[in-house]
Subunit: 206 residues, 2 copies
């Protein structure tokens, strides 16, 4: 598609770097901005740039934050002795959305993936061990691994387990199994297999 | 969904103003930027702002342009006595993509729509009549209406027809009919009806 302007082409090329955005969608976004006011374009541009220039990362858990501490770490209501290890911010939001967790987090910033060039030192792994070792402000009694059920997630989980078990902390992982509401015939074999291996005493609460 | 940062929330809110972007997609875009470099975010932000600060509109046809004239109006190869009237830039690109048109354009910037508050003076309608009247640089022999097949498009087409016919210019409209490759049973009644009314002598070129 030939665009009538290099400036429009430039904006389309930039928009195409967003995940899942192709040429047609990028053009739709760009023309929407062309048809809007300059203030609207400026507000959008400023808010996107602020994501890199103004956003902080929590010094404790490395979650996204507006200041030194994220809202979870800053909350006096959370249990500070339990850490939930997640891959990224989306992980924090997914666990928070369940309303079932009241501890703190540790955001790795990815998972170990040699094929993508992500090694141990690219992730917040040393800082996790350090957090457990320091016992500051209070001893960590449990580390819950809530990592993706992929080869990379499993590798990362195993690495963390090896690092933390000498420190005497309890390391657990979220349960893998058939989704709530799913019938068995639609569950994939790997998931059903893990849910059988990970079976637990029946009680009326499920 | 509770976001851990007001800055992130702000970016998500801004991204949601783009057409077809919901909360989930906006968050995906924003987190992609958070995980990228500051230069990447800056390049995107700059290119979006440039759409309003650097983009021009062609002084002849009002298409998007990088300078005083758009590439079509600037081209010495185009027939300058034929104008194709379109709603917006997308219209220009759609007609150009056919490779069947060698005249110039006139971009209205919308269609008459009282319900959306778009009146005659909000569109490039006076400038169209003016272009035909001035006969500059050469007389306009035909004005082709390529407007959307909606109530608003039809209203706009009729208004233009009323303005231009006293000037003695030939006013035509693109054919409406069954799409190439479509079978009759899937064409809607309005389209099929118009294609029967608009039937033309058969020849081997279709």
């Amino acid at each position: 598609m030939d665009l009538p302007s290099a400036i429009l082409q430039q904006a389309v090329d930039q928009l195409r770097t967003l995940p899942g955005v192709g040429a047609r969608t990028a053009l739709r976004y760009a023309l929407h901005l062309v048809q809007g006011t300059e203030q609207e374009a400026r507000d959008l541009a400023d808010s996107l740039l602020a994501l890199k220039t103004e956003l902080h990362h929590c010094r404790l858990c490395h979650n996204i934050a507006d200041s030194d501490l994220c809202p979870v770490c800053a909350s006096p209501k959370r249990q500070r002795g339990i850490l939930c290890v997640v891959e990224n911010v989306q992980g924090v939001m997914a666990v928070e959305a369940t309303g079932q967790y009241n501890g703190l987090y540790h955001v790795l910033g990815g998972v170990i993936s040699p094929i993508d060039g992500v090694g141990i030192n690219d992730l917040e792994l040393a800082s996790l061990t350090d957090r457990v070792r320091r016992a500051d402000p209070e001893p960590v009694t449990e580390v819950i691994l809530a990592l993706p059920a992929t080869m990379e997630g499993d590798t990362t989980a195993y690495y963390i387990y090896r690092q933390l078990s000498p420190l005497g902390v309890k390391v657990t992982a979220i349960a893998r199994g058939v989704s709530v509401g799913d019938s068995l015939e639609y569950a994939d074999e790997a998931t059903l297999g893990r849910s059988i291996v990970g079976r637990r005493p029946f009680n009326s609460e499920g």
